[in-house]
C-alpha cells in the first residue's frame, strides 16, 4: 500500500505524526521532493490565480505525487487542531479544491480534523482509515498514540533552535550541522508552511543565518509562555497559528537579546493581513520588517531588504541606540 504525503502546508507541523501512523499500519509513505521552481510553476498553473503561494505550492506537490503510482493520497481537511480555533478557510476546502482542479488525482484519504468541539469525529475517521488498511481498532489506536508521541519528539527537537523542516530531518535520522552563532539576534515569525519551506521562502532562514544572525523561531520559545502572552490581547485570536505568532511577538518584543523582528507574510493570506498588522503595532521599540512574498518574488530583492535590515540593526547597536527611533 503506497500513501503519498505532499511536502506542503501542514507537512511542517504533522509529518512525523502522519508518517508514523501510516507506517505502523503497514503502509509505505511517499513524500514529494522539496519545493523548487517547478513545484511553484506546476501549482500556479493548476490553482486559481487568487490562491496564496503555500496553496499553489501544495498543488505542485500533489501534481508531482499524481505520477508516483500511489494507492492513496493523504490530503486531510484541517478545520481545527484545538478547541475554539481555526486554521484557515482554504485548509477546510483543500480536498474539494483538489478534486475539482487536479486531473489524474489518486484516491484521497480526506479525513476531517476538527477538534473545535471534540475529537470524537477525528477518532471515527482515523478508525475508518485504519480499517481501510486492514487493521483492528486497538491496533489503530495504538498506532495513533505512537504517532502523537513521535510528533512530540520532533517538536522537542525543534525547541532546541532548529526550524521544523530541520527538526523533521533530524527526526528522520539525519545529522545536521548546528548553525553558527552570529552577532545579531532576529526573531522570525510567519506561518510555518511558508517560513520553514526553504524552496517557498527562497531560503529565508539560511539567508538570515548567512548574514551573521541567530534566528529565533516560535518553536524555540516556551509554549506556555506564548499562550500567556497571547491571552493579553483584547480579543482572543481565533486562528491557531495567528494566536501563537501574536504570543511570540509580544514575548520577543520584551526580550532584550532580540535585536529585531521579521515577519514573513504571503500575498493574499487572510490571517497574515490582520496578524501582520497587529504584530507591527505590538512591536514597540524594536525594528520590525514585514516581508511579503508570492510566486513572482525575486530572491535578489529579498536579499537586498535583508541586508539593509541587518546593516541598520548593526548601526543601531554601534551608535548609541537611544538616538534612533525604532524604524531606523
Amino acid at each position: 500500500m503506497r500513501i503519498g504525503i505532499p511536502y506542503g502546508l501542514f507537512y511542517f507541523y504533522y509529518y512525523p505524526l502522519w508518517k508514523t501512523f501510516f507506517s505502523d499500519l503497514g503502509a509505505e509513505v511517499i513524500t514529494s521532493s522539496p519545493t523548487c521552481r517547478l513545484t511553484v510553476d506546476a501549482g500556479s498553473a493548476l490553482a486559481v490565480d487568487e490562491a496564496c503561494l503555500p496553496v499553489k505550492v501544495y498543488y505542485g506537490h500533489v501534481r508531482e505525487l499524481c505520477s508516483q503510482d500511489l494507492d492513496y493520497l493523504f490530503a486531510p481537511r484541517l478545520v481545527s487542531v484545538e478547541p475554539r480555533s481555526y486554521i484557515c478557510p482554504k485548509f477546510m476546502g483543500i480536498p474539494d479544491m483538489l478534486r475539482a482542479q487536479v486531473p489524474g488525482l489518486p484516491q484521497l484519504i480526506d479525513i476531517t480534523v476538527d477538534l473545535s468541539r471534540s475529537d470524537r469525529y477525528l477518532q471515527q475517521d482515523l478508525i475508518k482509515v485504519g480499517r481501510m488498511l486492514g487493521y483492528k481498532k486497538s491496533a489503530i489506536q495504538e498506532a495513533f498514540q505512537h504517532a502523537l508521541e513521535e510528533n512530540r519528539r520532533c517538536i522537542q527537537i525543534a525547541s532546541q533552535g532548529w526550524s521544523m523542516a530541520e527538526a523533521i530531518k533530524i527526526w528522520d535520522g539525519n545529522l545536521l550541522e548546528p548553525p553558527e552563532a552570529g552577532d545579531l539576534s532576529i526573531g522570525l515569525l510567519g506561518h510555518g508552511y511558508s517560513l520553514y519551506d526553504e524552496g517557498l521562502s527562497m531560503g529565508l532562514i539560511s539567508k538570515i543565518r548567512q548574514l551573521g544572525c541567530k534566528v529565533h523561531l516560535l518553536e524555540s520559545l516556551d509554549a506556555e509562555r506564548i499562550e500567556m502572552e497571547a491571552a493579553t490581547m483584547p480579543k482572543r485570536v481565533f486562528w491557531t497559528l495567528g494566536r501563537k505568532i501574536m504570543g511570540g511577538v509580544i514575548n520577543m518584543n520584551k526580550r532584550e537579546e532580540i535585536d529585531g523582528i521579521i515577519y514573513l507574510a504571503c500575498f493574499g493570506c487572510g490571517p497574515d493581513s490582520m496578524i501582520g498588522e497587529m504584530a507591527e503595532r505590538y512591536t514597540t521599540g524594536k525594528p520590525f520588517m514585514l516581508l511579503t512574498i508570492d510566486e513572482h518574488s525575486g530572491e535578489a530583492g529579498m536579499m537586498t531588504r535583508l541586508e539593509a535590515f541587518c546593516d541598520m540593526l548593526r548601526r543601531r547597536r554601534r551608535v548609541d541606540e537611544s538616538q534612533f527611533p525604532a524604524y531606523g
Binding site: 484557515c88 477546510m92 480536498p95 476531517t112 490581547m233 480579543k235 507574510a265 487572510g270 490582520m274 498588522e277
Partner: protein, 364 residues
C-alpha cells in the same frame, strides 16, 4: 452619545430606524464615495480585504460628523471579518480619534459582557420600546427589499432606465424618512406603482445569478454597480443574498421566516462538503441552485484575497462543467476600474446571448 455604524447597502435604513426607536442619536455615515475609499486605503493594512478599508473610511467620515460611538459586528472565524473590529480600533486610536467601540458578537466566555454592551447603547429605552423598534426596523427592511427586487426585475425591461433608477432612489429615501408603518407602506406602494407604469420594450431577457461574498453583493459601491450595469445591458439579476435572509439565517437562526438555507447547503454537495467560513459554501450551493432553475449564467463577486470565495471559486469550475452553466468570477479592490469591469460584463452577456440564440435556432 452619538452612534454610528458601517455601511452595507441599504442596511442603514433598518439600523437607523432601530437606533432611533431606542432614543439614540444616530450619525449615518455619508454614502460610500471615492473619498471614503481613499481614507480607508490610506490607513488600513495593504493586504486587508476591501470591506475593512471601506469600514475605516466610513468610521472616519462619521467621526468627522461628530460620532463618538461605533457599533460593529464581530465573529469567531475562520473568516478574517471576525478580527475586523480589533484592527479597526487600533487604527483609529492610532490616528488620535476618541471613541467607544461596541462590538456585537456571540461572546467567547462571558454572556454578561455582550448584554452590558447592548444595554449601554439603549440606556434610555424600555424593553417594550426596544421590541417595537426591532419590529419596525424589520418591517422597513422588508419594504426596502421589495423595491430592490422590483428594480432588479424591471431595469432590463423598461425603456427609460435613468428614470426608473431615480424613482427607486426616491422611494428608498422616502422609506428611510417615514416614521410609521402606514407611511412606509404608502411610499413603497406608490414607488412600485410608478415603476410599473413606465414603458417597456420587448427584448429577450437573460437571467443572471449573482453570487459571492455578502458585503460585495450588498454594497453596490464596492462592486462598481455590477447589478445595475447588468440590468442596463438586458440581464435580470437575482442575488444569492438579501439582508433579510442574512439576518434571518445567521442572526436569529431561521426563526422569523422559512428559510431555504439548508437546501442551499445540501446543493453544495458533492462539490464542497464542509463549511469554509464566510459564505463560501452558500456561494457554491447557490450556483448549483441557479443552474438547476434555468438561469443563463452566474457571476461570482468578492473582495480580492477573500479566503472563503477563493475556495468556492476553486470548485466553481467543476460546478460550471457538471451543471452546464457559464460562470465568471470578478474580484474587487481599490484598484478596480468601472470601465474594465463593464467590458468584462458585456463580453460575458454577449457570449450568453449568442449561446442562447444558437440554442433557439437549433431547437426551432
Amino acid at each position: 452619545m452619538k452612534v454610528s455604524f458601517p455601511h452595507m447597502g441599504n442596511m442603514f435604513i433598518p439600523i437607523n430606524a432601530l437606533l432611533k426607536g431606542i432614543h439614540v442619536d444616530v450619525v449615518v455615515p455619508p454614502p460610500v464615495t471615492a473619498r471614503t475609499l481613499e481614507l480607508g486605503v490610506k490607513y488600513s493594512p495593504e493586504c486587508a480585504c476591501l470591506p475593512l478599508k471601506i469600514n475605516v473610511g466610513n468610521f472616519i467620515e462619521a467621526m468627522e460628523m461628530g460620532a463618538d460611538t461605533i457599533v460593529m459586528a464581530g465573529g469567531w472565524g475562520p473568516c478574517r471579518f471576525g478580527y475586523y473590529a480589533q484592527v479597526e480600533r487600533e487604527i483609529l486610536r492610532d490616528l488620535g480619534y476618541c471613541f467607544d467601540m461596541v462590538v456585537l458578537e456571540a461572546p467567547d466566555s462571558k454572556l454578561s459582557e455582550l448584554l452590558k454592551q447592548v444595554k449601554g447603547i439603549g440606556e434610555n429605552a424600555t424593553l417594550k420600546e426596544a421590541y417595537q423598534a426591532i419590529k419596525f426596523a424589520w418591517f422597513k427592511l422588508g419594504e426596502v427589499e421589495m423595491l430592490e427586487k422590483r428594480l432588479e426585475y424591471l431595469l432590463p425591461r423598461v425603456i427609460d432606465q435613468n428614470q426608473i433608477e431615480q424613482i427607486y432612489e426616491a422611494g428608498v429615501r422616502g422609506i428611510d424618512k417615514a416614521e410609521d408603518r402606514s407611511s412606509v407602506r404608502m411610499v413603497r406602494l406608490d414607488t412600485i406603482k410608478h415603476m410599473d407604469s413606465l414603458a417597456r420594450h420587448q427584448r429577450s431577457i437573460l437571467k443572471i445569478g449573482l453570487i459571492g461574498e455578502i458585503y460585495t453583493i450588498l454594497e453596490p459601491s464596492t462592486n462598481c454597480h455590477v447589478a445595475r450595469c447588468l440590468g442596463r445591458i438586458g440581464a435580470e439579476v437575482s442575488r444569492s443574498i438579501y439582508i433579510s435572509d442574512w439576518v434571518n439565517d445567521h442572526l436569529v437562526g431561521g426563526l422569523i421566516k422559512p428559510s431555504n438555507h439548508r437546501q442551499i447547503l445540501r446543493s453544495s454537495r458533492p462539490y464542497l462538503n464542509y463549511h469554509v467560513g464566510g459564505h463560501g459554501r452558500e456561494t457554491v450551493g447557490n450556483a448549483v441552485e441557479f443552474a438547476r432553475s434555468g438561469y443563463d449564467g452566474i457571476i461570482q463577486i468578492g473582495p480580492l484575497t477573500c479566503m472563503p470565495e477563493i475556495v468556492a471559486q476553486s470548485v466553481l469550475g467543476r460546478v460550471s462543467e457538471t451543471e452546464a452553466i457559464p460562470c465568471m468570477t470578478i474580484y474587487f479592490d481599490e484598484h478596480s476600474a468601472p470601465a474594465g469591469v463593464y467590458t468584462r460584463l458585456e463580453a460575458f452577456i454577449d457570449m450568453l446571448q449568442r449561446k442562447k440564440s444558437l440554442a433557439n435556432m437549433a431547437s426551432g
